[in-house]
């Protein structure tokens, strides 16, 4: 009943953080896109709260920050022995905004910068639903939003995996039962809705959760540079320590 420890954790993995320093331009771009996918939303919300910027200013700040950071490659200077990448990125963002403020006294609407395609409207909508207590500590908000981003991204990746493996029904069950709003939904009701036996629902959901867990771990692995940082972030996101 025992098995090899950690056999379900990623063994070989792509690290977007490491990829920022890769000599190959395509790898750098791929790494950059992976990081932006997770970090833009927490960064935007954090900027709105921490620096009290209006939506337009915050959108420009985030666009400028990520584009400048990519061009000048200053996130590539990250040293995993000093801090976690997400902490480093947040500090870089703070410095960037402070510098922008000092240089122009206020962040102006950028005219000539290339724009990333980011859904700021949905981020603003989520921000409006936050309670006052959730915004008291912007650094905590950033971390919480970072976790949310990882889980959302993992859901998308997991869905893609299910489609690829022709297991859409597994995802549909997972979406209905684990992501749905109906807390009273039972396996029996789910079985009726999908014309499956309770045993099949149980097995499909068990597979889905196991696969989703694996996807989350791979996503975290992408966003960290070292094994130690990976373990720390798994603890932060999932509350478990890899032994």
């Amino acid at each position: 009943m025992t098995s090899e420890p950690n056999s379900h954790f990623p063994t070989t993995r792509f690290s977007a953080v490491k990829g920022l320093r890769n000599a190959d331009a395509e790898t750098r771009r791929r790494s950059w896109n992976a990081l932006i996918a997770v970090y833009w939303r927490p960064s935007y919300k954090y900027t709105r709260i921490r620096w009290k910027l209006d939506p337009e200013q915050a959108q420009d700040a985030i666009q400028s920050f990520f584009l400048t950071a990519f061009e000048k490659q200053y996130l590539a200077d990250f040293d995993p022995s000093i801090a976690r990448f997400r902490t480093y990125l947040r500090i870089c963002l703070d410095r960037f905004i402070l510098k922008e403020r000092q240089s122009s006294d206020r962040l102006k609407r950028g005219g000539d910068i290339e724009h990333l395609s980011l859904d700021f409207a949905s981020a603003d909508s989520e921000l409006n639903r936050l309670t006052a207590s959730a915004t008291e500590r912007p650094d905590r908000l950033f971390d919480q939003e970072w976790v949310r981003s990882i889980l959302v991204l993992s859901i998308h990746k997991f869905k893609a995996t299910c489609v690829e493996q022709e297991k859409e029904i597994n995802f549909a069950l997972f979406e209905r039962y684990d992501l749905g709003d109906d807390a009273s939904l039972t396996y029996a009701q789910l079985g009726e809705q999908f014309a499956l036996s309770i045993e099949t629902v149980t097995n499909y959901l068990a597979w889905a959760r196991r696969q989703f867990r694996q996807t989350v771990l791979e996503t975290i692995a992408e966003l960290t540079a070292t094994e130690e940082e990976y373990r720390e972030e798994v603890l932060a996101v999932l509350g478990i320590k890899l032994t």
Partner: protein, 338 residues
């Protein structure tokens, strides 16, 4: 799916945190408790088709120290076959690398919850007596519990007492049957500290020697102190309370219905000095039996009027017969004189 509410986010986190039971004969039902070292889940043993409890490590453990402690806990429990100790069925590593063990699933409430029911003092003492008996058994197997407190004691649906959570338990040198240890010969245990140097245990229920980190001085009398603190809780519905000067506030100050004799038993257990406490759980159990039988207890020297009152309470029938006899004698004497 970009809009993930806080509630769903927590649901997903707990989903991913759940132990990976793939490849095992267990199926997840639900999480039932979280402790300092791990979480406990209700799972179904698919082979035997019965519900069991699965405890899995959930705390940071880069050194492997906690995993080692959990395996040790499982081994300690396995040595304790007693109706008041929840039996362990299995121990191992989950596919995700975490240590787990399987124990009997007990339907019941913690002592803290059970105390909310309004029981008479004698009923509470009878309950406490069963806890002491269980601890005496543990000590007889050369084990110290070291974390006795209301939340680590359960009362089952049949009123049975169950001592739980042997995460801090340690084995000590075996002592001879019925031998009362002196301070020189009492078995001792090394105290463990967390990485931050914090002493393991629960302060309000911890003996002074355990709280000070003096591992050499921790022995079965340290568990006796904790038992006294549990009795304090049962009698007062409060954790042991201390004055600003550090003196224990006596239970009767919170509950005047408590007799001086049972208060004395509690205070003796909680003496600062190990030598002033009961020297074994058996001797505490004997004093509890004496208390319940309305006999003099070792912990309390009664005044003459208290002896008389207690004797009168125990011998109401004899007293009534005697009184009746005296009245008849008086009446006969009176009428004869008339």
């Amino acid at each position: 799916m970009t809009d993930l509410s806080d509630k769903k986010l927590e649901r997903l986190r707990s989903l991913v945190e759940e132990p990976d039971l793939s490849g095992t004969k267990y199926r997840m039902i639900e999480k039932i408790a979280s402790g300092g070292m791990g979480s406990v889940y209700l799972v179904l043993d698919g082979e035997l088709d019965r519900k069991v409890a699965l405890k899995v490590l959930t705390v940071p453990d880069s050194s492997g120290q906690m995993a080692h402690r959990m395996i040790r806990e499982a081994k300690v429990i396995a040595r304790l076959e007693h109706p008041a100790i929840v039996p362990i069925h299995d121990v191992g590593l989950l596919p995700d690398g975490r240590v787990f063990y399987i124990m009997k699933y007990v339907e019941g409430v913690t002592l803290a919850r059970f105390r909310e029911r309004h029981l008479s003092v004698p009923d509470l003492i009878r309950l406490f007596q069963r806890i002491v008996d269980a601890v005496a058994f543990v000590h007889s197997r050369s084990i110290l519990h070291r974390d006795l407190k209301p939340s680590n004691i359960m009362v089952g649906s049949f009123g049975e007492v169950l001592v739980m959570d042997f995460g801090l338990a340690v084995a000590h040198a075996h002592k001879a049957e019925n031998q009362t240890p002196t301070s020189a010969q009492a078995p001792t245990a090394n105290l463990e500290k967390t990485a931050s140097g914090e002493i393991m245990g629960t302060p309000a229920y911890m003996s002074p020697e355990q709280a000070s980190g003096d591992g050499e001085s921790v022995d079965q009398r340290s568990d006796i102190y904790s038992l006294g603190a549990v009795l304090y809780y049962l009698l007062t519905e409060r954790h042991p309370s201390f004055s600003p000067a550090g003196e224990l506030i006596h239970p009767r100050q919170f509950n005047r219905e408590i007799s001086r004799r049972i208060e004395a038993i509690c205070l003796r257990c909680m003496s600062q000095s190990r030598e002033s406490r009961y020297q074994s759980a058996e001797s505490l159990a004997r004093d509890l039996v004496r208390y319940l039988d309305d006999e003099p207890v070792d912990a309390y020297r009664e005044r003459l009027w208290e002896v008389a009152t207690r004797w009168a309470a125990r011998n109401k029938v004899i007293l009534l017969i005697l009184a009746g006899y005296l009245i008849v004698r008086y009446l006969v004497f009176f009428f004869l004189r008339v």
